[in-house]
C-alpha cells in the first residue's frame, strides 16, 4: 500500500502540530515551601560580573559552603549582551539555574510563567532586613507576592563637559537640574555652536517621562497612561530640541555605547553614566576628564530614577532551602556592604546607606559621586514599570522618533505608543 506524498505531509503536520504546541514553557510553578535542611548542589547565575569581581564571588561562595556543609554552589556568569535571551532559553528549556541575578522587568515574565519563587510565602522572615521600597521592587502588578531578593541599587550620575558649557556662555558650575533648565541650556548651546554641539544624545525613554512627572501606568497596572498632557508637553519640548540640533541628529538610532562615544568626542555635552565611567574618561579622553562635571540625573519631580538589581530563586529548584539560603546570603546587609566597597553600587538593606562610607566625602571625585548618589537614592523611585518589555521600549522609541521627525504630532505619537504598549501588555497575559 503506497501513501501519497501529500497525505504523508498532512499526516506529519497533524502529528507534529499538537506536539510542538505542547512544547516548553512553565507548568504553573513548583511549591513555595522552602523549609528543610540547607544542603545539596545549586547553580548561581550572575549578569556580567565575573570579569571584574571573580575573587569576590569565589570568596562569597566558599564562605557559604563553609557555613552550610554539604552544599556546593556552581557559579555561572553570562555576558550582558543577550542576557534576557539566555534566561528565556534556559527557562523554556527547563534549565534555569537555581539562583538567578535579575532585574524587575526580567522577573515579571518568569513570575507569570510560575518560574520565580514567591518570597512573601517562602521567606517572609527576611523582608524586614531590606528597604521597604527595594523589597517591593520585585512585585508584579496583577500578582500577589514578591519574586526576588533586592540586591544592589544604582542611580547613575549625569556627566557633563564643562568646556562646552563655558564655550556656550553657560555657568559650568551650575548644570541643569530640572527638565526646564535642561531645555533652556540645550537650546543656548545649540544656538551658540551653530548646531555643532548637542546637549543630549538620546531620545526620551520611559524613565524620562517618569522623571518629568508623567504618570506611566494606571494603579492597577493594566494600562499605560504616559500619553497625558504632561507627556505630550515633554515630547513637544524634545521636538524643539531636535529641530534646533540640541538633540543629536543620530539620537533616533543611538545606543548607550554610541552616545557614550559621542560624549567622549565632545559631540554632546551631557550623558548619563556610572562611577565606573570616570576611569574610562581618564584613560580614553584625558582632556575631557580634566573638565568633567558630575551632577544628579535631571528630574522635575525631585526624585531621581533608581535601578534595582535582584536575586531570584527558581521555583522549580530541587534544592529550594539551599537556593533561598544562598540568595539571602548574597543579598544580606554584610555582603551587600562588602560588595559596595568593591564597586560603585548601593545596598538595598535597611540602614546600610547611613554608613559613613556613603555619607562622608574625602575630596576625591569617586567619593563625591558616591555620597551624592547615596543621598539621592534615599528618595529615588524605580520609574521603569516592571511590565515594560523590550518590545514596548522599541514601540515607544519608534513613535517618539516619528514625532521628532515631524511625521506625526507628539500627541498622535504618544497615543499610538500607548495603544501598542497596551496591546503588548494584553498579549503578555
Amino acid at each position: 500500500m503506497r501513501i501519497s506524498r501529500r497525505a504523508f505531509a498532512a499526516a506529519a503536520v497533524a502529528v507534529l502540530l499538537p506536539l510542538s504546541a505542547c512544547g516548553s514553557g512553565g507548568d504553573g510553578g513548583g511549591s513555595s515551601d522552602a523549609s528543610g535542611k540547607v544542603e545539596g548542589d545549586i547553580t548561581f547565575q550572575t549578569w556580567n560580573l565575573r570579569a571584574n569581581f571573580k575573587p569576590y564571588f569565589e570568596g562569597l561562595i566558599a564562605e557559604f559552603e563553609k557555613k552550610y556543609p554539604g552544599t556546593e554552589v556552581k557559579w555561572v556568569d553570562q555576558p550582558a549582551e543577550g542576557y534576557a535571551d539566555k534566561i528565556s532559553a534556559d527557562a523554556a528549556g527547563g534549565t534555569l539555574p537555581d539562583v538567578v541575578n535579575v532585574s524587575p522587568d526580567l522577573v515579571a515574565p518568569l513570575a507569570k510563567a510560575g518560574l520565580a519563587l514567591d518570597l512573601d510565602k517562602a521567606a517572609p522572615q527576611y523582608k524586614k532586613e531590606y528597604l521597604p521600597g527595594a523589597w517591593a521592587g520585585h512585585r508584579i502588578p496583577g500578582m500577589t507576592g514578591t519574586y526576588a531578593f533586592p540586591w544592589y541599587l544604582n542611580t547613575g550620575p549625569l556627566f557633563y563637559n564643562k568646556t562646552l558649557f563655558k564655550e556656550a556662555g553657560l555657568d559650568p558650575e551650575k548644570p541643569p537640574k530640572t527638565y526646564d533648565d535642561l531645555f533652556a541650556d540645550a537650546l543656548t548651546m545649540a544656538g551658540k555652536s551653530g548646531g555643532k554641539v548637542a546637549t543630549l544624545a538620546n531620545v526620551p525613554t520611559i524613565e524620562d517621562f517618569g522623571r518629568y512627572g508623567v504618570p506611566l501606568m494606571n494603579e492597577e497596572g493594566t494600562a499605560f497612561t504616559f500619553n497625558d498632557a504632561k507627556g505630550v508637553e515633554l515630547l513637544t519640548k524634545y521636538k524643539e530640541l531636535y529641530d534646533a540640533k540640541a538633540l543629536d541628529p543620530q539620537a533616533l538610532t543611538a545606543t548607550p555605547e554610541s552616545s557614550g562615544k559621542k560624549f567622549l568626542t565632545g559631540a554632546v555635552a551631557m550623558n548619563p553614566g556610572s562611577a565606573l565611567d570616570l576611569g574610562n574618561f581618564k584613560k580614553q579622553a584625558p582632556s575631557l576628564y580634566k573638565n568633567i562635571g558630575i551632577t544628579d540625573q535631571i528630574t522635575s519631580t525631585g526624585h531621581v530614577n533608581m535601578y534595582v538589581m535582584g536575586v531570584m530563586v527558581n521555583s522549580q529548584s530541587k534544592r529550594k532551602p539551599a537556593a533561598v539560603a544562598f540568595a539571602h546570603f548574597v543579598t544580606d546587609a554584610a555582603h551587600q556592604m562588602s560588595f559596595a566597597k568593591k564597586v560603585a553600587i548601593f545596598p538595598s538593606t535597611a540602614g546600610s546607606l547611613d554608613d559613613p562610607y556613603f555619607t562622608k566625602e574625602d575630596g576625591t571625585d569617586e567619593t563625591r559621586v558616591r555620597v551624592a548618589a547615596a543621598k539621592s537614592l534615599k528618595t529615588a523611585v524605580n520609574y521603569t514599570p516592571v511590565l515594560f518589555s523590550e518590545q514596548m521600549k522599541i514601540a515607544l522609541r519608534n513613535e517618539v522618533a516619528k514625532a521628532l521627525q515631524g511625521k506625526q504630532s507628539p500627541e498622535e505619537a504618544l497615543d499610538n505608543a500607548v495603544k501598542e504598549c497596551d496591546r503588548l501588555l494584553q498579549q503578555q497575559g
Binding site: A21, G25, A92, T253, T255
Partner: protein, 297 residues
Amino acid sequence: MAVSGISRVRRQLPTSPWLFAAPGLLVTGAFVLYPFVSTLVNAFTDRRTLIPGQFVGLANFRELLQDDMFWTGLRNSTLYVLGVVPPLVVLPLLLALLVQKNIPGITFFRSAFYTPVVASIVVVGLIWVWLLDDRGLVNSLLETVGAGRVGFLSDQWLLLLSAMAVTVWKGLGYYMIIYLAALGNVPRELHEAAAVDGAGAVRRFLTVTVPAVRSTMVLVGALSSVAAFKVFSEVYLLAGPSGGPAGEDTTLVMLVQRTGTGLTGRVGYASAISVVVFVVTVALMLLVLRADRKEES
C-alpha cells in the same frame, strides 16, 4: 565458504549507505529539519517564549496583514534584493576579469578583494559605523571639501543604502571566486576567434564572456537574492536594534528577531513571519531559475 561470504556482503549492503549518511542525516534532522517543521507548526499557534501556545489557525497571518511593521520589513527586504543583487551579479564578474590576468602583484589584489569575506561582520559593521558617523571619516572629508555633513546613519533611506553598500563590498570577493572558476572554463579559442574577427574588448565581453558564464550569473543571482532578502547583520549593526529612525529600516528577519526573542517573545507570530520569509525566498529562487530557463529556450 566464498558463496556465503558474498551473500553476507549482499545482506549488509542496504544498511551500509545509511550508516555512512547517518551523521549528516542526524545533524540535518536536528538542526535543519526539526527547526523548520517546528517553525511551520508554531506559525499556527499563539506560542510565547514561556507559555505553550494553542492552535489559532491563520490568526497570525491575518495579524501580519494589519501590522505596519511587517509591511515596512517586507518593503525593506524587497528593496534590499533590488539594490544589492544587480551589483553583486555584475561587479564581481568585472573584478574576476581583472584579477584573472597574470600581471605582477595581482595575488595581492586577489587576497585584498577576498579579505572582506573572511572579516567578521560585526567588526566590518563597526568600521563602517565609524566611517559613516556624523563625525566619521567620510563626513570629515566631505566637510573638508566644503560639502555639508550627510546623515548616512540618521536618514532612513541613506541608512538602507549604506547597509546595501556594506553587503556589496563584503560579498564582492566571494562571488569573484565563483566567477574566477567559471572564467577558467571559457575556451581561449573563442576569444581568439572573436579578436580575429575584429571584436573589441567590450564586444568580446558581451558576446563571449557573458554567454559563457551565464549559468554562473544565474547562480550568483539566486544566491545573492536569497541572502539579500534574509539580511539582518548589516542593517542591525548600522541602524541599531530599533531598526533605524522610527524603525523604518527594519527588515523582515530583524522583525523575526525582535518579535520572537526575549522573555516576552511571541514565538508563534515570529514563526509566521519566518514562514513568509521562506515562501518569498523559494519564490525568488524559482523566479531566477525560470528566467534562466526562458533565456535558454
